[in-house]
């Protein structure tokens, strides 16, 4: 249609970068996981072709320099070639993970790919039928980090072009969850007169503003527990009357975190049924990697966990469910014991051993305890430094373990 342009907006492809928090998975699933980012990429291309968009915007972090594989870029190139075949342009900027100077492989992309070459904000003009249709602004990370406010540097310099689109890989200054790069305030963006702000860097999909659209499309394939749910890109149609956005899922498999109270399960087979029913969600069309949090007030479940029964159950369920095409795999299962009143009372109970344990636990640092392993000459090469929250969580778990052993299992077993 005249007077409008359409494009796909995607970011943070993180092609071929390994998933986080996935320990042991069956070989077949491992293969699928490995391939998932590429499948999502292909879906992106196919979507672009199906929807006959004018171009595709890729706002940084297409791959990870630190875990860079040649395969990632080769596949990327192949997809670009495919898009070229369908006369679809690609505008791409590099982000903090695929910053230019860290790229090991000089892969040449076809000429339908327009790359912002450096940290200076530049623009490409998209022309259709000899008519200027859109100006696309952006910059690429040359090095690992950009700390200045790049948003402020964007300026529209050709008023004759009907649409102005800006690509920015960075985060809100206020966002502290992630490393803050190219920080900006929303007002920095909304005041520029840009028709569409294509953001990248944050993996969680978010529309920061409707007018003008300021959008994080999120990444195209979840890669850890936190990146759960649907992942994909935005299909945007810009016209004089405004922007129409629709989200297109691209993910090959999805992460899902499920919490389930199992207090009522008295027998292991009941638990199995409950877990099965919980994780099989027919409305989800893709394969799933599941983090399962079980909560229970029933002490018998702690016993089960100690006896490895819950692990066995998980394994059993995995075995049967991971065989199907639309597999479901529980890669993490934790039992959260909420001991109503007990923990509290124990703490309050000044003279109890358990109380003593709790008091002690609250104040102690576990670093000296775990240094045997975490400082181990060989092990530490592969172990990340323990985060504070991790430390807390370990501590808590240890404490729970002890309480369970001391009071419940121990008491009962006498």
């Amino acid at each position: 249609m005249p007077g409008q342009i359409s494009f796909l907006h995607a970011a943070d492809l993180h092609l071929d970068s390994p998933f986080k928090g996935l320990a042991r998975v069956p070989e077949a699933i491992f293969k699928e996981i490995q391939e998932s980012t590429f499948i999502a990429l292909n879906r992106l291309a196919n979507t672009a072709i199906d929807k006959q968009v004018d171009f595709v915007l890729l706002v940084g972090d297409l791959f990870d320099n630190e875990k860079q594989s040649l395969k990632a870029q080769i596949r990327l190139r192949d997809v670009f070639k495919k898009l070229k075949h369908h006369h679809i342009n690609v505008y791409l900027s590099y982000g903090n993970h695929d910053y230019r100077n860290g790229n090991k492989y000089p892969i040449e992309y076809p000429e339908n790919v327009f790359i912002f070459p450096d940290e200076t904000i530049r623009h490409f003009t998209y022309e259709k039928n000899g008519q200027k249709q859109a100006a696309i602004y952006g910059f690429s990370y040359e090095n690992r980090a950009v700390h200045e406010n790049k948003a402020k540097q964007f300026t529209i310099n050709d008023d004759t072009v009907p649409f102005h689109i800006a690509m920015l890989h960075g985060s809100l200054r206020s966002n502290t969850e992630h490393d803050v790069y190219a920080p900006f305030h929303l007002t920095d963006l909304s005041s520029k007169g840009v028709d569409y702000w294509a953001l990248g860097h944050i993996h969680k999909r978010a529309v920061l503003s409707e007018k003008p659209p300021i959008v994080y499309p999120g990444n195209i394939q979840g890669r850890n527990r936190k990146e759960s749910g649907e992942k994909g890109c935005y299909h945007v149609v810009l016209s004089k009357s405004g922007a129409k956005l629709s989200f297109v899922p691209l993910h090959a498999l999805r992460f899902n975190t499920i919490t389930k109270d199992i207090s009522q399960c008295k027998q292991p087979h009941e638990l199995e049924t409950v877990i099965r029913n919980t994780i099989i969600d027919r409305s989800i069309p893709e394969a799933q990697l599941i983090t399962l949090y079980l909560t229970s007030t029933n002490p018998v479940h702690w016993q089960w966990e100690t006896d490895g029964l819950i692990d066995d159950l998980t394994e059993l369920i995995n075995e049967s469910l991971s065989q199907q095409t639309k597999w479901v795999y529980i890669y993490q299962c934790r039992l959260n014991s909420t001991r109503n009143g007990i923990d509290k009372s124990m703490e309050e109970q000044g003279q109890h051993f358990v109380g003593e344990l709790m008091r002690h636990t609250a104040n102690v640092s576990i670093q000296p305890f775990v240094k045997d392993l975490y400082q181990h000459r060989e092990a530490r090469k592969y172990l990340e430094r323990m985060q504070d929250h991790e430390e807390e969580s370990i501590k808590k778990e240890a404490q729970q373990y002890l309480i369970r052993e001391l009071l419940h299992n121990g008491g009962e077993s006498q």
Partner: protein
Amino acid sequence: MIVTRATIDGFGKWYDQSIDFSQDSLTCLYGENESGKSTLYQFILFMLFGLPPKKRAFFRPKTGAKMGGRLTIYDEEIGEYTIERFDAARNGAALCYTGDGNKHDEEWLKNRLQGMTFPTYQSIFSFSAADLFVLNEMKEEDLGDVLLSIGLTGSRNIQAIEKRLDAQLAELFKPYGKKPIINKQIATLDELHTSLSAYEKDEAAYRDKKEKLDTLETEIGRLKIKLHEEKSCLSAIEKKLHALPLIHQYHHYAKQLAVFPDAIPFPKDVRDRYNVVKEQLLPLQSEYSGLAANLTKYRAKTEQLKETKADEATYKQVKQLLEQSAAFLDIEKELNKLREAQKQKEMQITTLLNQLNTGITLPDLASITLTFHTEETWNSLAGETNQLELEWNQQEQEERVAKRQRDELQTQQEELKSHLLPEQRVGELTATIRAYQQQTDMMNDTSNQREWQQMKSGKEKSANTILAGSLILAMLNGIGLLFFDNKPMLGIMLITLIIGFGQWFFRKHSIKETERMLQWRQAQFPEPAITQKTYEEAESLLAFHTKNETDLAVIQDQLQSVDVQFLKLSERRNALDVKQDRINQQMEQQYDNYPFLCDIDISYWVPFYHSLKNILQLHEEAGQMEHQQSKLRQKKAALEQNINRFFQERNGEALSGSVEAKMIMLENLARDYQQANDLIAQYNGWIKENIEEQEIVEQKMAVYQKERERLYQAADVKTEEAFFQKAKEWEEKQKISTRLAEITDQLLSIFAEEELERIKTELLIEHELKEEQETHTAAIQRIESELDAKRQELADRNADLARMESSVTYSSTLHRFCMEQEQLAELARKWAVLKTAKELLADTKRNYREKYITKVIEKTSAYFAELTNNAYKEVFAPTEGQLFQVVSANDIHYTVNELSQGTTDQLYVSLRIAISEVMSEKHRLPFIIDDAFVHFDLYRTKNIMRILTKIAESQQVILLTCKKDLKDTVYNGEIVYLENTVRIS
């Protein structure tokens, strides 16, 4: 908190019971064994903390009463409330009724109990004999530890937990181990990391390779340009080389062209026009000259003819002679005819003479004359001779027959004479015959003997036959006997044999007899002198002799008659001889006259006469022909003479040669004369014609000659030679120009125009060009091979890059590495949890001990002293490697395993009481003791009761016991006697 009342609807053996604890803080429940003390204790616990369904089921009353009940409790804060629990209701959950009438649930109760749980309660506020019993089962050495662990935690498994933790940790990780899971995982990661680094390095080479590839491509591009340059140079040179002959030609012709004047006044079509004129003129000229030549020839011929022609007179003379010569020819013809006829006749005569073959030749014929009687004479002579010969033949015939007859007869006579017997022999023979005839008469009966011989052989034969028959019969009998043992048969056989032999012998005998008699009779007669044979011989000899004598007489008669005939024949021979002589005389006479007759048999004389006569006649005819010929010859000679005279006159001398030749000459003369005349006339005609034609041709020629003159003028020449010289010059220039143009065209097909202009000025030397060509070719080869190598390298590198691009090794290894790393993190976390737990436990234990042990041990010492009535004054907590220690009143140290069971129990009770006192400062839950004092003596029982009473001041104590003395010592408390079993003495 005080338990005031327990109402049991049904629990174990208890039902519809209500026990009041409200009287005092120390309640002693007395009951004998099996009275349900422990069940009651369990009931209280059930009411407070609930029980899992299994255990509830265990306490379900057998009576069928519903399991459950109520426990009324007094709480210092909220006053009295009742806990109600029923197995059937709410799954055993509590329902609490407070004084204000409100209902509360389990949670509320838990809050009221301040989080106290069943096991905690059990481990702190209650103990029973069973607990002590369990202790006793423990190893003595562990007792201290166990005592402490119970005391400190309310449970006994810290050690077990620690052990389990250690085991689990060891399973997971050992700092220097290899087998634990984490160690293995680290090893796996190491391995993966190594290969990952390798793959990474491999992939890192991609950039270099790519750059090299780019360099290569640039290099190839450069080489391609260079190659192209070289190739175009080469092709330029090759073009030059190729065109070199042409260029040389160009120069050659250009040089030639320079020799000619720039312009030659020779109109372009002059030559053609001249040619046309010449074409026309030439035949005319040739015709004209031909005519002229003919005219000259004709005139010469005419002159010549006139000179050679004979004169008129001679011609007439010749004509006359020729007329005469016609007669001459006739004579000649006649002569020839006659000569021919004469020759024929002579040949006829010769033939006939030859046939006669008598040696008479042609010339002889003239001398032979035959008279009229010659024929007769010869005829009679022939007749007589013939007669005589016949007679001679007959004579000789008869003589020959007579002679043969006589010879035969003589031969027969001789033969017969040889066969005649001498006279003596004949006499003997005659005598013999006579003697024999006498003898024959006597010998007439000898013939009887012959008859006897015949009869004898017949008899012998029959005797033999009978014998054989009897033998056969006897044999048959014998055979029969063999089989039948028959006596009569034996008899028959014997009889047969006897009969057979008997008749045989009889016959033989009779024959011999007869023979003997016959021989005797023969011997009676004497042997005769002449045998019959001798007689017969003699008789035949005599007969033969007689016949021979007869024949001989006949032959002698015949011989005599033959001799007579001989005499007659001899007479006749003489007569014949006379006759012969006469005839011979006559013949001699004839031979003299006609000698040729000698050769002729007389019998042929007559036919000979006729032949000869014929010949002689022919001979005469030939003579006449001869005569005619001679006449003709004379005539002929006269003619010849005329002719000869003519030639003699004409030529002045006589011509040799035949008349015929001369006559031909004459004829020729005449013919020549006439011919010459004719030719002269013809030539004259032609001469006239010729002159006319010449005039016509001259007129025609004049037109063209004029035209030629004009052309000469145009070409600025006077003569034809000059014209042609000029034409040739012009044409040559033209040719060279054309050739030059052609070459230029050809060159232009090879070179561009400006290039050609340049090349025209260049000096091109072939070998230099060739050298240049070689140089460029070599350069091209070098560049091409370099290019090939580069291309190959490029292909290799491309393939290498393609391989790298398609390789997923690094990627998948990376993924695997990360996953294994995650696995390690998870394991590490697990380990960390366990390790933390272990350390926490140890820490807490240490802290805890430090914090409480002093207090507990103090109290324990106090209670223990009291219980033992100060037999022991102090208790030491176990230290490393040491158990509990107690110090007696006399300062002796004992370890716990050195104490008696009772003392140990006391220590335990002291410890428990101390612990519960220390621990329950806040809770103040009722203290329930279930028969823990079994081993206590009265004294000690009193002491403990005192202690318990003291404790009871601040805390409810419920004591379950079966000991009376215990009961008795309770002075401050209430004793509840359990139903049915309660006995109070």
